[in-house]
Symmetry: C2
Subunit: 445 residues, 2 copies
């Protein structure tokens, strides 16, 4: 295995061998290998990376590793790395580094790059502007294919992608030419005859979720970003869009499990941070559940008369919670994928109404029969069956309504997921259950 051999050779200071391993390794893998080294070996190993790969390795490292390296870099080394890094990777890094390190970096880069970085840093977090890069290939419409190819040969090496080129006129985006078009067309064809004018683009302040949706829908490799004046300011590339898709899904899942999302992986997050991310929601939900408890005390007489009633509480609560969570999850995901809008509210509620009739009846029959056989008590079977149907219907209505309402008032629909729905549904199911029970068994409160 590369890793062990590498460690061994580095320990023995066999620099030539280390360098040749680094030479054939992928930048992403080098970055993860380097994260296992101690501080001294880290700087040593980093300096052995081939020059053309160093910036890419650096961009793929975690923030703490980057900080450590920046500390030991000479001005010249830092400048070389920064010059070779893509603009979006640089900005990504700056967003998470300590202020003194950021200052040092901004002092090192040239004034032109500094100005660009400063503009990019000002875009709201998770906006299209914050994840775009300002390095793209722009063409003029009067160019021929040959001229365009020469232009790309000259400037392309420093661009993150050259596969989608943008035809601009006074910063307005006129059209798009792909490298495929260029490579498969005759030399003397004019760009304006080749360019595609149906352009998919996005505003600088649009949410990154919208960016991801456009990539997935239209199978894009890059997406042009326009400012408020419709001038082109940058592009988002497909690798960044892919990261957004993964991160947004993780964030939604985390939030749906009542955990405040973290940008770090499970093991990177410390025990304290994990606890801090989990406690707030648990406290809120625990105190809400206490309300359900208080409601139960109102029915003390009921379960003093028929203690068996208590034993159905878990089943009703769990089923209600599960039904609500099924509906809310499907709706939340549908909203995230852009398949369900607020205007679909009534359509969704009507659909859930019909689904819950089917689901509720099936569960009620199954459980009613079980109780009839086990306890030979038709009234009890009836109470449980009716409570189940009502609980299922109510929880599915709540589960599909709340996420859409959250969306409407610009809250993240993902917080209206299983945990919150469960707590709300609990109270309702207990109320339904004991009211039906007191009615059927003529109990007094």
């Amino acid at each position: 295995m590369n890793r062990d051999i590498f460690m061994e050779l580095l320990a023995q200071r066999e620099f030539k061998a280390v360098r040749s391993i680094l030479n054939v390794m992928n930048a992403v893998d080098i970055a993860s290998l380097l994260s296992e080294l101690d501080d001294r070996d880290l700087a040593l190993a980093f300096r052995l990376i081939p020059k053309d790969k160093a910036a890419e390795v650096f961009a793929n490292m975690g923030n703490s590793l980057q900080s450590k390296l920046i500390d030991v870099f000479t001005e010249k080394e830092l400048k070389e790395i920064l010059d070779d890094m893509y603009m979006d990777d640089t900005v990504d890094m700056l967003e998470d580094l300590p202020a003194n390190v950021v200052t040092r970096i901004l002092e090192t880069v040239g004034s032109e790059k500094r100005a660009q970085i400063n503009i990019l840093l000002r875009y709201p977090e998770d906006s299209a502007g914050s994840i775009m890069t300002t390095e793209y290939v722009d063409l003029r419409r009067q160019m021929t294919v040959r001229e365009a190819m020469e232009h790309i040969r000259r400037v392309g090496i420093h661009k993150e992608t050259i596969y989608t080129c943008y035809v601009l006129e006074s910063r307005r985006l006129l059209g798009i030419v792909t490298a495929k078009d260029l490579m498969t067309s005759e030399d003397n064809v004019q760009i304006q005859d080749l360019m595609e004018t149906e352009i998919i683009s996005i505003g600088t302040h649009a949410d990154q979720e919208e960016v991801a949706r456009l990539f997935a829908k239209y199978d894009l490799l890059a997406l042009p970003v326009l400012d408020a004046d419709q001038c082109m300011v940058g592009i988002v590339t497909v690798d960044d869009a892919m990261d957004v898709v993964v991160d947004e899904a993780t964030e939604d899942m985390t939030l749906m499990a009542a955990v405040n999302p973290s940008e770090k992986t499970y093991f990177e997050t410390s025990v304290f941070e994990h606890a801090k991310n989990r406690i707030p929601w648990l406290l809120v939900l625990m105190l809400t559940a206490a309300i359900t408890g208080t409601i139960i005390t109102r029915y003390e007489n009921a379960f003093a008369a028929i203690p068996l009633l208590v034993s159905f509480i878990p089943m009703l609560m769990d089923t209600g919670g599960n039904c609500g969570s099924q509906s809310s999850t499907l709706i939340i995901r549908g909203i995230a994928l852009g398949e369900i809008q607020f205007r679909d509210l009534f359509r969704a509620v009507f659909k859930e109404f019909r689904i819950s009739l089917l689901v509720g009846t099936t569960l009620a029959v199954a459980n009613g029969l079980r109780i009839l056989i086990m306890y030979r008590d038709p009234s009890l079977a009836f109470v449980i069956a009716v409570s189940l149907i009502m609980t299922v219907m109510l929880s599915k209505m709540i589960g599909c309504t709340l996420p859409l309402l959250a969306k409407k008032v610009h809250l993240d629909p993902a917080i209206m997921a299983a945990p919150l729905i469960t707590t709300i549904v609990d109270t309702c199911s207990i109320l339904i259950y004991f009211n039906i029970a007191t009615l059927v068994f003529h109990l007094t409160l």
Copy 2:
């Protein structure tokens, strides 16, 4: 808005105007527009789509629409569309069409394409082989850049991507050359001097989740797929990898909410299908919850003596369920992203142990104080606090262990999510709670 104008013009049979709208629209948008038409207008409108866009529109349609069109297509029309479609889109479509339509398509395509399709259809569902395309650009290492460019100009127009080219020798993959390398290099450089030999590749039978992970990790545009003999058989392109990322996340979320995943969107799925996808898990979970109920009946004497005990059941059950769901969700997502392996089991359990100490203590103190103030009963506060800590710890242990065990025995970790964990934790929390209560209050069973 395009849509209304389009409908109006089509109704008035203004074919020239319809055609010019279709001319400037994106293929994806045309496909979604056509889905709103009735059968007769659909065929009519489809025939007005510019020839060079028709196959792409067709590939972007739903299966029922595709079937309808295939029914009305002449042999010639069908052949034209199929010739222009990419191999992976064709196979995708065939996987979901009724058998008689598939037969007609296989009869229409040429024998060479039919052979390729048949091979692709045989790969397991959700494997790298099933989502790859067999159309890629292959180069020889002795070629010069100029020769390679000429080769691409000749064959490239029919390939899904030309941006990553593969250098082959007797079907073995020697290296990779990007279009960027070709476009920014001198004409007479040899491919073997230009090609990258650190190759990221995948086997035909690897899971598509693994494909998606490689794309996200290495920022790829295409991934070569090798067969068991290490011969190159196809590539997966980034747009398909993006779809995999989205679909896998949706599938996990759906499964985690105890719903059997469907490939259709929320509104595309019928009420019956929704019910069918939801009922099985609900039945299982309901009957499991009934066990918890049966356990409660064993403690009838306890809550007959102190009815207040019943009122804390929802709070304990919900908190246990939420804690377990927090842990299991983070672990399930970590497994899906390749960040957590089975060998991390003890590390994860130890981490959750420490987290649950912090979380449990915080919740216990908060709730203990609340009960002390509300009921002025130190014993009760003590019982609830201790039950809470133990429930939190146990549920977090269970929540982090079960998904990893599921992974180990090749079950989908996503089924070990909130609903199942909640049901299991319920039983445990009830047992813990009533045992502590009977002990502290010296109750008899």
